[in-house]
Amino acid sequence: MALATDSPWQAIAAAALLGTERQPFQLPNISGNLGNCLSQLSDRPNESALLSAVGMVSLHQRVGWLPEARSVTQVESCSSEDLPRCSPRAARYLQQILEGQFPHLLSEWLEKAAISGQRVPEILLPSLLDKGRQQRELRPSVLPVLGQRGRWLAAQNPDWNYAVALTTEADWETGTPSARLLYLQDLRSHNPDHARELLQSTWKQETASDRAKFLEACRIRLSPVDEPFLEATLGDRSKEARRVAVDLLASLPTSRLCQHVTEHTCRYLSLEREGPSLHVQLPKHLDETLIQLGFELKPLSSVNNKVGEKAWWLLQMLGATSPSTWTEQSQMSPRQIVKLAQSHEWQNVLLDGFALAAKRQGNHEWLEEVIRVWFAGQASINRNVVLVDLGTEALVNALSGDRHDALLIDLFQVSHRKINDSLTIWLLRSSSQLWSFDLARLVLDGLEKHLNNTKTFSNSDWELRSALKEFARFIPVSLTSEVMRLRERLANDSPWVNSMNDLIALLEFRKDMTQAFGVEDGNQEIVNKLG
């Protein structure tokens, strides 16, 4: 508590610190009731008077303490119009997830709440906003369920500024960088042209790192209309922004950049249907026009040791050349070409180049071929890549959910991969959405065959065991009863009983969670599809 410098308390405290043997204690001379009480101590020995005075004065201060009226920065109250709060049961599931039980189900909960048009109850907002701060990828699904209250709250904590809504475009210039980015991404998804124009209007005043981030948002619904703007940014001062621009232009097969690069690439790669054969000639120098288009002379530091300069130039060219160029030119199928590439001495450069172009341009056929060729002979997912961001995982993730499922169904039906095969487990785990019923049934069949035949655990069984829990996230909840029957058919002493019980617990949690949003059983599949 604040005390005036000449208060009786300070005088007494100073005397107590010093000690009465150094300086005899003098009662502070004050008037009023306290003074009267203190004066009764005057006959006492020094120490007794001092301690009694301490007791009296401190009690006097405590009793007399008054709270102060103060102007505290007032925040405008939250608008009262809001989405309906989710049911207490749904809230309970969210709380469990936030407290660490089944943390992977958070995005599913958020999606379900968003579909039902409900919001998170107030008391859970701080933990949810914190989760969104830690996990950037969750943010887009956190926003729709915050309600007015959540956005109001987020506006008061700088840690949560990603969730502060830019409600109107007028805020575009004043919002925080992360809120602006989310606004831009959102606008881009329903009005891409307008989003681009908005970005263009403030482009010059943005910082270098914001320019790169904002430009990255143009990947959403990228189209040839964006080309002039992207071309203009090729000359940007920020290297990072230039890289994004090249990447985006290379993702547009009809762009001037792609057309120009394709001409060059054809000089160095030729395909013969007869034979068949694939010839590579490394470029002797990097054409000046390509340098102007943003090609890099020196390999990125991350690829430095794997390829030389010339191979690096070729890789960049391949990455900006539409893969269909090669099928059209040679009349060969993507599979034939990828096979040829695989046995070539420049295998890494060719496969990475094809994969990069396919990934950029969303060419699933080529993506799948690169993945399949790799999977055909391998048990490991670690492709020997030149570019770190072109690992098998990145390629698989670039597939749409349906193609991902199709690839897996192929693995089971055509390649006869087993359920406890590392690669299969890995692919199943890397799913980004619910499995289709077909895939889920294949997995259950595979499990049934395998689990009933396990006598002792092999290494791959341990891997499968730890993956089972994750599988529960992808199985449509309407198959719960089939999973339960599978468990019932297990022998009592099967080493899989506990893992299957865990899997079922998670499935049931998901099922109950779905019901907590008021979704009837009959509609569950609709929700599954939406999810």
Binding site: W9, A16, L17, L18, G55, P67, T73
Partner: protein, 444 residues
């Protein structure tokens, strides 16, 4: 039965976070082979890892739990799961005659209550042995007086030498004098001395806080030396501070107050496996606050189940004091939920005035119950505040978890809410919040 239990109230009974989590996992109908209810008793059979299902039962009147599982937690996850199921899906409990295993338990419970009543009557007879009692009291008075005399000299020595050197003293100095007070049968003094030793290394203003505590101790010494001249209630406060408390049987002979008591809030603290729980009650008709203290060792359950936000009809007896707060439950009836927040004080100045008045009656009050209404949480650089409609502010405890401050703000949305907390003279420690008719426990 009118009681509508909420899941929050149930979860507040969980002995730890893991039990709460596991209990929630069991609050699913599919986990239960059978479920039943008869009036205020519910039961269920839950298949666990063992051969036979666990049999779980709850007497909602208290609530009291029983389960056949081997867990040493109390209540166990099955008890919590069953209770949560009742709170969330009351329709699942089928009203039916209890099976034998439930009926047996009910009979044994009513027998136990009778036995306890007998035992209590017996103990009261024993304490009625006035001659022996007076002799024991005189002996203790002698010991405590000697201890008090020793402490007085020790304190005077400290200020003679000056407090500036205290940070250089070892803890042993404090331990030694504290041990002497234990020997003198004044454990309350020993505890205060040990707390004092802890203050010295807690920041720049340690000397002011140490000095205040020394002053309070000295006041206590002076009070004890003139104890005969003090009013009886103040005598009781002095004895309580010394750690010379009445035993429960003696307290229970005092006047009982019957009321509908609202459980305002709870806080459980652990020190060396001893769990101490403070439960604050508010009498709806008498407008009185009461504090219940419960202790439990290790995994042992607290004897009383008290659900925050719920009401219980009970007879309470207060420990004698110039400002009675601490109380014991003499008898209790069924618990029931109260749908509305209790009436609080709107002006912080007025609330603090009640504190000042209480402090003037009992200068040793450590925590004072404040029930505020229409206050808005605000954030300042230094921490969280509550502000009333006149703009008067009260600082919230610095030890409050950061999330709790934000939760408070989230619940408020900038609008006023009702808050209950413990005021220690400097900070308010928030224990519960009401928004409209919903109760939120902040105690643990």
């Amino acid at each position: 039965m009118p009681a509508q239990w909420t899941a929050d109230q149930v979860l507040a009974l969980a002995p730890d976070a893991a039990s709460a989590k596991n209990g929630r996992g069991l609050a699913i109908c599919q986990k239960w082979i059978s479920l039943g209810q008869q009036q205020s008793v519910i039961w269920g059979e839950c298949q666990g890892s063992g051969k036979n299902p666990y049999r779980t039962q709850i007497d909602l009147r208290e609530p009291a739990f029983r389960c056949t599982c081997p867990s040493r937690k109390f209540p166990c996850k099955h008890g919590l799961g069953l209770f949560l199921l009742l709170a969330e899906q009351p329709g699942e409990m089928v009203e039916t005659d209890p099976p034998a295993w439930v009926a047996e338990w009910l009979v044994s419970r009513s027998q136990r209550t009778e036995k306890q009543a007998e035992k209590q009557a017996k103990r009261q007879e024993q304490t009625a042995d006035r001659i022996a009692q007076a002799k024991r009291a005189a002996e203790r008075q002698r010991k405590v007086s000697a201890g008090i005399q020793e402490l007085r000299l020790w304190l005077e020595d400290r200020v003679r030498q000056g407090l500036a050197t205290l940070p250089q003293e070892s803890y042993q100095m404090w331990d030694t004098i504290a041990a002497r007070m234990v020997d003198a049968q004044a454990p309350g003094l020993a505890q205060q001395l040990q707390e004092l030793a802890g203050i010295i290394h807690t920041g720049a203003d340690w000397s002011d806080r140490v000095l205040e505590q020394l002053g309070r101790l000295y006041l206590l010494i002076e009070g004890f030396e003139q104890i005969e001249t003090l009013p009886t209630a103040v005598q009781a406060d002095v004895r309580t501070q010394l750690g010379w408390s009445l035993n429960q049987e003696e307290v229970l002979t005092g006047q009982a107050y019957t009321d509908l008591w609202l459980v305002l809030g709870q806080r459980t603290e652990e020190e060396e496996r001893l769990w101490a729980r403070r439960t604050w009650l508010y009498g709806i008709a008498t407008h009185t606050f009461a504090l219940l203290l419960d202790f439990a060792h290790g995994h042992q359950p607290f004897e009383q189940s008290l659900l925050s936000g719920a009401c219980l009809e009970a007879e309470l007896v207060f420990y004698p004091s110039a400002y009675p707060l601490r109380a014991l439950i003499k008898t209790r009836q069924e618990a029931a939920a109260l749908p509305k927040p209790p009436p609080g004080i709107e002006a912080i100045t007025e609330a603090i005035a009640t504190y000042s008045k209480a402090l003037a009656s009992c200068p040793w009050l450590e925590r004072f119950p404040l029930l505020l209404q229409d206050v808005v949480p605000r954030q300042e650089e230094k921490g969280w505040l509550l502000q009333d409609q006149q703009g008067v502010v009260l600082p919230l405890s610095r030890r409050m978890e950061a999330t709790q401050g934000w939760q408070l703000l989230a619940l408020s949305g900038g609008y006023p809410l009702s808050v209950f907390g413990e005021w220690d003279g400097t900070f308010l420690n928030v224990l519960s919040v009401w928004v409209e008719d919903s109760y939120y426990g902040f105690g643990n």
